[in-house]
C-alpha cells in the first residue's frame, strides 16, 4: 500500500502546454508546402509510366499540363484529352496553349513547357498527334510525365 502512494506522488501529470506549439509548427509547415489541387480530373486518373532518366520540371508556373487517358464512362472507348477542367478535341490544343501563353509574360513564353501526363495504356498515335499540334504552334519544349523507378517491365 505504502509503495503505491509513493509512486503517485513521484509522477506529476505531463504538461501539455507546449502541445499547441508543436501542432502549430506542423501546421505552418503544411500551410507553406501545400498546393491546392487545381484541376479535377474528368478522365480516369492516368497511371503514369515508370522511367529512370527523369528530370524534375522546374518553374511550375511555366508548365501547362495535358492529360491523356480513358474516359470514366466505360462505354466510351479511345483516349480522351483533358486540359484544365474539360475534355477537348485534339484540334483545340493550339488554342489552349495560346490561352496559357497569354497568361504569362512575353519573355517567359519561350521557357514554357508542356507536360504530357498520359496513361501508360494510351495509344502512341494520340501522343504523336498532340506533339504534331504543339509543333505547329512552336511549343517545342515538352516533358513526358513519368514516375521515377527502374522497373520498366511494369510499363507494358
Amino acid at each position: 500500500m505504502s509503495k503505491f502512494k509513493k509512486k503517485k506522488k513521484g509522477l506529476p501529470a505531463i504538461s501539455t502546454a507546449s502541445l499547441p506549439d508543436i501542432v502549430f509548427m506542423l501546421l505552418f509547415f503544411f500551410m507553406v508546402s501545400t498546393t491546392m489541387r487545381e484541376t479535377d480530373l474528368v478522365i480516369k486518373k492516368p497511371v503514369l509510366p515508370v522511367a529512370s532518366e527523369v528530370k524534375k520540371l522546374e518553374h511550375k508556373s511555366l508548365v501547362s499540363t495535358i492529360y491523356v487517358g480513358k474516359s470514366k464512362d466505360k462505354k466510351i472507348s479511345g483516349d480522351k484529352i483533358q486540359v484544365n477542367d474539360k475534355i477537348i478535341d485534339i484540334n483545340d490544343i493550339p488554342s489552349f496553349i495560346f490561352a496559357e501563353r497569354a497568361l504569362r509574360k512575353e519573355e517567359e513564353v519561350k521557357f514554357m513547357t508542356t507536360s504530357i501526363k498520359a496513361d501508360k495504356e494510351a495509344n502512341v498515335g494520340t501522343i504523336l498527334d498532340i506533339k504534331e499540334q504543339l509543333r505547329d504552334i512552336n511549343a517545342l519544349k515538352i516533358s513526358f510525365s513519368t514516375s521515377k523507378g527502374t522497373d520498366l517491365k511494369s510499363n507494358y
Binding site: R37, E53, K120, D136, F144, L152, Y156
Partner: protein, 208 residues
C-alpha cells in the same frame, strides 16, 4: 462595486483548433513534384521555303521500329527486348568508325574519345549518329516511354563515362552542381559533353 477579476482565457482548446487546421492542410496537400523525360520537338520547316534534303548514310542511322503489339525491331532484322536497347544504342553511338562532319573551321576528324568497336559498317561519329524511333499508332504509351528512357539512358551513360574521364565526376553530378551554383566553368563542361555526344533522335511518321 467590486470589479470582476479578469479571468485568464482558457487556452486548452487551442490545440484542437490547430489540429483541425493541420488535418485540413494535411489532406489537401500534394507534395508530388512533376518529373518526366524532357524532349525538345523539332521545329516545323517553313512551308514556303523548300527544305534542303539531307542525305544521311544508312550506316549512320539506328532504326528502331515498334509495332502495335509492342514488339521492337532494330535495324529491320533484330528482334529485341526493351532492356536490350540501351546496349545496342551505346554501341551504335560510340562506334566511331569514321570521321566527323567538317564544320566551318574544324576539319573532319576521327572520334578520339570513343571506345567503340570502330566497325566500318556502323556509325561514323557520335555527331553523325542518328537514332530513328518509328512507332505504330497502336503502340502503348508505356512502351514508347520505356524506349525513350532507354535511349536517354544510353546517352547519359556515354556522357557520364566521358565526364569521369575528363573531369573525374559523373555527368549527373555536373548537372547537379550546375543547378546548385551555376558557374561558367561547369556550364562549359556540360556543353562540351553535350557536344561530344549530341542527342539526335528522329521520329518519322508513325506506321498506320
Amino acid at each position: 462595486m467590486a470589479r470582476r477579476e479578469n479571468s485568464e482565457i482558457n487556452a486548452g482548446s487551442m490545440a484542437d483548433i490547430a489540429f483541425l487546421l493541420l488535418i485540413f492542410f494535411l489532406v489537401t496537400t500534394t507534395m508530388d513534384v512533376d518529373s518526366g523525360i524532357a524532349r525538345k520537338l523539332p521545329e516545323k520547316a517553313d512551308p514556303n521555303q523548300e527544305t534542303p534534303t539531307v542525305v544521311i548514310k544508312e550506316k549512320n542511322v539506328l532504326d528502331i521500329t515498334v509495332n502495335r503489339s509492342n514488339q521492337i525491331l532494330v535495324e529491320g532484322t533484330d528482334f529485341v527486348q526493351v532492356t536490350g536497347i540501351r546496349k545496342i544504342a551505346m554501341d551504335f553511338i560510340d562506334n566511331g568508325g569514321g570521321l566527323s562532319n567538317a564544320v566551318d573551321d574544324k576539319p573532319a576528324e576521327p572520334c578520339d574519345y570513343c571506345q567503340g568497336a570502330k566497325n566500318p559498317l556502323s556509325s561514323d561519329h557520335p555527331s553523325k549518329a542518328v537514332i530513328s524511333l518509328q512507332s505504330a499508332r497502336g503502340t502503348t504509351y508505356g512502351m514508347y516511354v520505356s524506349i525513350q528512357n532507354e535511349i536517354e539512358a544510353a546517352y547519359n551513360e556515354l556522357r557520364s563515362r566521358l565526364s569521369e574521364k575528363l573531369y573525374g565526376v559523373p555527368y549527373n553530378q555536373l548537372l547537379k552542381d550546375y543547378k546548385d551554383n551555376p558557374s561558367e566553368s561547369i556550364k562549359a563542361r556540360i556543353d562540351n559533353l553535350k557536344e561530344k555526344y549530341p542527342q539526335i533522335i528522329s521520329e518519322p511518321e508513325p506506321i498506320k
